[in-house]
């Protein structure tokens, strides 16, 4: 087992190197300049803009810039944002709590809805409950988050005036009021994201359950006289959850990566909004760091999913 994990980790190194190279070169090829805002400012002659480019090494050949980046990364130096003139790791750490809180809550909400609804719908296929759940799921994942987000804002903020739609990181309250405010401002983004995720996950759980529920061993378990609840939870769910675990594991990096659209709409200062603003301003070091961390997480969680397989289904051996 430990040998397997070690081998997988070693394989990850070349693939991460490959990913970083592709990312870097694609970003370097992308046109644009972090100092484009200076262009029309009559106070700043273009020489200044060009001098800044040269100072930050933007005029060096691409392969040199990549090697610089790689060697710095190996020393634990994540780089330095052109736009904020501060270290990238500080920038990312500042953004992480909001993303973890909002996106994490949304994932939990999605699971809390998807698993019970999916399981129950699968035990009574084509019943009224199943039909309704299916319809709602279809509507749910057909509506993009930028649409539901705006809809929620119009209903709950503008018309009803119940919830704020600008997320603040510094709530001026302490104790229980702080907690309540944190929950209040997260309701809309969490609901928008959570319901969207729940919709597709419900469909997935339901079909995974249906695949297993028809198998002979389930009939055997029923024939033994086990109760419905026990059959479903102990016998069906454990096996049906294997593909679901993969799905969830692969979605975990997204929890760290943030949700670009939702974060933008609700002004959540998360990793997603950092990524998009950095891309728009051509702040390569930040984009590199965020995407690279993202790549690492994908590799890591793939590994975790594989290890979990072995635990859920002992027949799968890891070599």
């Amino acid at each position: 087992m430990s040998q397997y994990v070690l081998r997988r980790l070693l394989i990850a190194i070349p693939s991460l190197l490959g990913i970083s190279a592709v990312l870097f070169f694609v970003l370097a090829l992308a046109p644009g300049d972090p100092f484009s805002e200076l262009a029309t400012n009559p106070n700043v002659p273009p020489e200044v803009q060009a001098a800044l480019r040269a100072r930050f090494g933007l005029d060096d050949p691409i392969y040199l810039r990549y090697l610089h980046w790689l060697s710095a990364m190996a020393h634990g130096d994540w780089g330095f944002s052109f736009v904020s003139r501060m270290d990238v790791d500080r920038l990312i750490l500042q953004r992480l709590p909001a993303t973890l809180y909002v996106i994490g809550s949304a994932q939990v909400l999605a699971l809390l809805i998807a698993i019970p609804v999916g399981v129950y719908a699968a035990t009574k296929p084509y019943s009224l409950f199943d039909q309704i759940a299916n319809t709602l799921a279809f509507i749910g994942f057909s509506l993009p988050t930028f649409f539901t987000g705006l809809l929620f804002i119009l209903i709950f903020s503008v018309t009803l005036d119940w919830l704020p739609f600008v997320y603040t990181t510094d709530i001026k309250a302490t104790g229980i009021r702080w907690v309540l405010e944190m929950i209040r401002q997260a309701i809309m983004p969490v609901a928008v994201l959570g319901l969207f995720q729940a919709a597709s996950m419900t469909r997935f759980v339901r079909s995974a359950m249906l695949d297993v529920i028809r198998l002979d061993y389930v009939t055997t378990a029923r024939a033994k006289g086990l109760g419905q609840a026990k059959v479903i939870v102990k016998h069906v769910m454990r096996n049906a959850m294997i593909p679901v675990v993969t799905l969830i594991a692969l979605q975990m990096p997204a929890v760290f990566g943030g949700a670009i659209v939702t974060e933008q709409i609700f002004r959540i200062p998360g990793i997603g909004s950092l990524l998009i603003s950095s891309i728009l301003s051509n702040d390569t070091p930040v984009v590199m760091a965020v995407t690279f961390v993202f790549a690492c997480l994908v590799v890591l969680f793939n590994l975790i999913a594989d290890v979990l397989y072995g635990w859920l289904d002992p027949r799968i051996s890891l070599r």
Binding site: F35, R95, D161, P269, L274
Partner: protein
């Protein structure tokens, strides 16, 4: 007769020789009402009367929190590293210059004890030096006193190329010396009629020597104070998260009486302009939102029964269509739009004039800018003294057709005009931005009616405005026939604004397209007028020279001015912001207060 007398009276009010009330009484005597008299004064360039005390709060603090929403959040807090106005706005909450520009484009002393003038000995007749007196008793937020050393240091810090300061050119060609602890003298290499650039406005913020002295030059980015500013401003720094949030609290030792009004200040970043307008005007979650680049129609809809309003400030920002005088389709020595070529079609003045007749500014204003734009035929739209009255724009497809016919451009079989086998076809580029694409469509439509084929092209803003030498789509390479964008005026003086189009500034491969004369227009008279204006110390003659330059740009149709743009912000109904079109939004933040 009345006209002449009126003018001299307005002049008297302007420089304070006659008071406003006397003026109104005189006019009332000839049967004009007070509001009308006020308007006459406003047209004459005198600001509408400010209420007797323009800043009513009588004590410091007590205004509660001030919540600002910038849809692009500030990403750094060192005013000399600020790449965009967003960063300048954020830094300005904590740092201060010697003076800022007020609503009318006049200097308003902040850290200066008085505005230099010939009378008080601050200015010299030769225009080669300025002496500023610093207000005594000003303290940095950490309690250290502000002295002349801080100003001298700021100049040295910024003008060191290794510091990589964005404001370097503001402090070029001058030396700053200390006269005594509270006096500095700026010595210019050449006579400088516009002396109020260094230490004034956004790039004029002074930084504390005791915190930055160790971080001058190549170590500039390591300064802890880059992220935790210590200034002299009305608010003290509390917290900064780049791109997301700035927080500050009232500075109890602030050097102006009864200011600031607010106990805390926060500037939130992110999102988009429309939802920012919504958060201020509709839900009232925020007090003030910056730069509402939103169609007027949307704002009008939000304002119906809302908790806020939009506010406008007049500066000199001009949205224009520029004409390429070189050929963008022929490559000479590895460069298109080379000075060795001439544009095959646009070098014909009749074609340029016809194009100017085909821009329907009234429709553009109606459909897009609304209250945020003023139609104009001038490239230079302010301050008032510099605005030409000799130009007049017109929209007329018939006249354009007549002009083209006369110049020999006859309609071909496909309806597109041609002459000597050259078809009247243009590529019209601009940056991606809703209002600009709509303007493109309006112009294209009119051109089609006149038999001109226009191909529209839009480029992402970060590419269009980049200095990336390898990219063909930047505005300065100008590899198309005509292009549209906006050039802002960051100070109430036309020198930098007009200097761009001299022949020494031509953008070419040799200067890596860093020259600012992107239309590549060459005119000896223009060069001479600019050169004369740069050292002309008589304000009237100087203004006349710039007006002449503006008129040349119009007669030669180097630019087709589309819209004189106003700055638009959203503001809570109770908030009284002080925003000048000649400065950044937060440049007079110490005077903001909340009314009843």
């Amino acid at each position: 007769m009345l006209d002449k007398e009126l003018r001299s009276m307005i002049g008297k009010v302007k420089d304070g020789r006659m008071d406003r009330r006397a003026f109104i009484q005189r006019l009332a005597a000839v049967g004009l009402t007070a509001p009308l008299a006020n308007q006459i004064l406003a047209i004459g360039g005198v600001a509408m009367a400010q209420s007797p005390s323009p800043y009513p709060p009588t004590k410091r603090g007590g205004g509660g929190p001030l919540k600002l929403l910038w849809w692009q959040g500030p990403t750094l807090l060192n005013p000399h590293f600020a790449t965009g106005t967003k960063d300048q706005d954020g830094s300005r909450l904590f740092y201060e210059p010697l003076a800022s520009w007020d609503v009318d484009g006049h200097l308003n002393p902040i850290l200066a004890a008085e505005i230099p003038s010939i009378k008080n000995g601050g200015l010299t007749a030769d225009g080669k030096s300025v002496t500023w007196k610093i207000k005594p008793g000003v303290k940095w937020h950490d309690g250290k006193p502000l002295t002349a050393d801080d100003f001298v240091f700021t100049w040295a810090y910024v003008s060191d190329p290794a510091t990589a300061a964005v404001s370097i050119s503001t402090y070029a060609d001058m030396t700053v010396e200390k006269v005594d602890d509270l006096t500095i003298r700026i010595l210019f290499k050449n006579p400088t009629p516009f002396w109020a650039n260094a230490f004034v406005g956004a790039y004029g913020c002074v930084i504390p020597k005791h915190l930055f002295a160790d971080y001058k030059g190549s170590k500039s980015r390591e300064a802890p104070a880059n992220l935790a500013p210590v200034g002299t401003g009305p608010y003290k720094f509390v917290e900064f998260k780049p791109g997301d949030l700035i927080r500050g609290e009232l500075n109890p030792d602030y050097h102006m009486p009864n200011r600031p009004h607010f106990d805390t200040i926060e500037m939130k970043g992110g999102g988009d302009a429309v939802s920012a307008a919504r958060a201020v005007i509709q839900t009232g979650e925020f007090d003030f939102a910056w730069n509402m680049q939103v169609e007027d129609e949307v704002l009008l809809r939000l304002e119906k029964g809302g908790k806020g309003k939009t506010t406008y400030a007049v500066g000199g920002d001009i949205e224009f269509i520029a004409i390429n005088f070189t050929d963008p389709n022929t490559e000479v020595d590895g460069e298109r739009s080379s000075m060795k070529t001439k544009h095959p079609i646009l070098s014909d003045l009749a074609v340029r004039q016809a194009l100017a007749l085909l821009v329907d500014r009234e429709s553009v204003k109606k459909a897009i800018y609304g209250r945020a734009g003023r139609t104009t035929a001038n490239y230079l739209n302010g301050p008032d003294d510099f605005v030409s009255k000799n130009t007049k724009w017109e929209f007329s497809v018939d006249k354009a057709i007549a002009l083209l016919e006369k110049a020999g451009w006859k309609a071909g079989a496909d309806g597109i005009r041609e002459k000597d086998g050259k078809k009247l076809k243009f590529v019209y580029q601009t940056s991606i931005n809703g209002p600009r694409q709509k303007t493109q469509a309006i112009v294209k439509q009119a051109c089609q009616k006149a038999g001109i084929d226009v191909e529209l092209k839009s480029v992402v803003a970060s590419v269009f405005f980049s200095s990336d030498v390898a990219n063909p789509d930047t505005y300065s390479k100008f590899y198309t026939d005509i292009e549209e964008f906006q050039i802002p005026m960051t100070q109430p003086d036309p020198a930098l604004h007009m200097k761009r189009y001299t022949s020494s500034q031509i953008a070419s491969k040799d200067n890596k397209w860093q020259g600012q004369n992107f239309p590549r227009w060459v005119n000896k008279d223009y060069d001479a007028a600019i050169e004369a204006a740069e050292t002309e110390t008589d304000p009237v003659k100087r203004a006349a020279l710039y007006i002449k330059c503006n008129d040349m740009l119009w007669q030669e149709t180097v630019f087709i001015p589309v819209m004189h743009r106003l700055t638009v912000d959203a503001c809570a109904t109770t908030l009284q912001p002080v925003v000048s079109g000649w400065a950044n939004r937060t440049d007079n933040i110490q005077d903001w207060y909340r009314g009843a």
